[in-house]
Amino acid sequence: MPFSEDEAQITLERIRDMPRGIKLNLGSHGAFTRDELIDAINTHSEIGELVVRMQMAYVRSFRERVDE
C-alpha cells in the first residue's frame, strides 16, 4: 500500500530516535537497524511500507485511546 510523504515524515521522525544498534524484528521479513529502516522508507520498499503502516496504526490507536 503506497504511503504519503506526510506519513513517511511522521515515521522517519520516530525511526531517527532509535539508537543505531537496536533492531526492529518483523518476523519473516527479517530484523532491521535504524539506518536500514530509514533507507527502506526513503526507497518506498516493501519494508518501508510495512513500517509506515505500523506507525500510522499506532497513531490511530493513540488517538482512539485519548478519545476514550
Binding site: 530516535d17 539508537p19 537496536i22 524484528n25 518483523l26 519473516s28 505500523m54 499506532y58 485511546r65
Partner: protein
C-alpha cells in the same frame, strides 16, 4: 491414553528471530509440565515436517504451538523448511488446539485448519514484531526491549494451559498488551520506548483466533 494430554511445540533456533522465540518458549514448556501435559519439543534441527507429521498423528496431542516464520498459508521449522501448509497437511491438526507464534498465518492457514477439523487456532494476521537490543540480547531473556512482546505472546499458551478458553487467552493477551503499551509510552528513561509501544500495538492488532472461542484444552 488414560486421559493424558499432549503438548507439541516447535522451537527452531537458526536465526535471531526464531532463537528469541525458542528461548522464550522454555517457560511455557515448564508450565506445561507442571500442568500435567506430556510435552514433546521439536527443537532446533528436529523441527522438520517429517517429525511434526509423525508426532501430530498421535491422538494424545491436544495442544500444538508453532514458533517459526510464516506466511498466510504456511509455518516453517528449521532452516525455513515448510512444516505446515494449508491444503497439504493441516488435516493433521484435527481435534487439536493450535497457537502459531508466526507471521500472517491466521486468515488462511488458521481458517483452513478449522475447516479441516482443528478445534481452535490462535495466531496473527500481521507480522509478529518486537524490538531487540543485540547488546542486551546475548541472552534473549535479558533483553528488556524484547520482553514485552514475548511476555504478552506467552500469555496465550499459559492461559490455555491453565484451563481457560481460546477467547479468554486472546482477550487476556490483548489486555496486557494495552497495559504495557501505556507503560512504555510514559517511559522517559529509554529512547527506544516508543518503538516497543509500536510493536505491542501491532501485535495487538494482528492477534486473533479462528474456530469456537469457548474451546479449552
Amino acid at each position: 491414553m488414560n486421559g493424558e494430554k499432549g503438548f507439541l511445540i516447535t522451537t527452531p533456533d537458526d536465526d535471531d528471530t526464531v532463537f528469541y522465540c525458542n528461548i522464550w518458549s522454555k517457560e511455557i514448556i515448564d508450565l506445561a509440565g507442571t500442568k500435567g501435559f506430556k510435552t514433546t519439543e521439536l527443537q532446533g534441527p528436529k523441527a522438520t515436517r517429517a517429525n511434526l507429521e509423525s508426532h501430530l498423528k498421535r491422538p494424545v496431542v491436544r495442544f500444538v504451538m508453532f514458533n517459526g516464520h510464516g506466511a498466510s498459508d504456511i509455518v516453517t521449522g528449521t532452516v525455513k523448511e515448510v512444516i505446515m501448509k494449508a491444503g497439504e497437511n493441516e488435516a493433521l491438526l484435527k481435534g487439536k488446539v493450535v497457537y502459531a507464534r508466526s507471521c500472517y498465518t491466521l486468515a488462511v492457514l488458521g481458517a483452513s485448519s478449522i475447516s479441516a477439523g482443528a478445534d481452535g487456532y490462535v495466531g496473527y494476521s500481521l507480522p509478529f514484531a518486537f524490538v531487540s537490543d543485540p547488546a542486551e540480547g546475548a541472552h534473549p531473556l535479558d533483553d528488556e526491549l524484547a520482553a514485552p512482546c514475548f511476555v504478552t505472546s506467552n500469555i496465550i499458551p499459559a492461559t490455555l494451559l491453565k484451563g481457560n478458553s481460546v477467547s479468554e487467552a486472546v482477550k487476556k493477551s490483548k489486555s496486557e498488551m494495552r497495559k504495557l503499551m501505556e507503560h512504555w509510552e510514559t517511559r522517559t528513561d529509554r529512547i527506544e520506548a516508543p518503538m516497543v509501544a509500536l510493536c505491542l500495538n501491532w501485535n495487538r492488532l494482528g492477534l486473533g483466533f479462528e474456530g469456537r472461542g469457548e474451546v479449552k484444552l
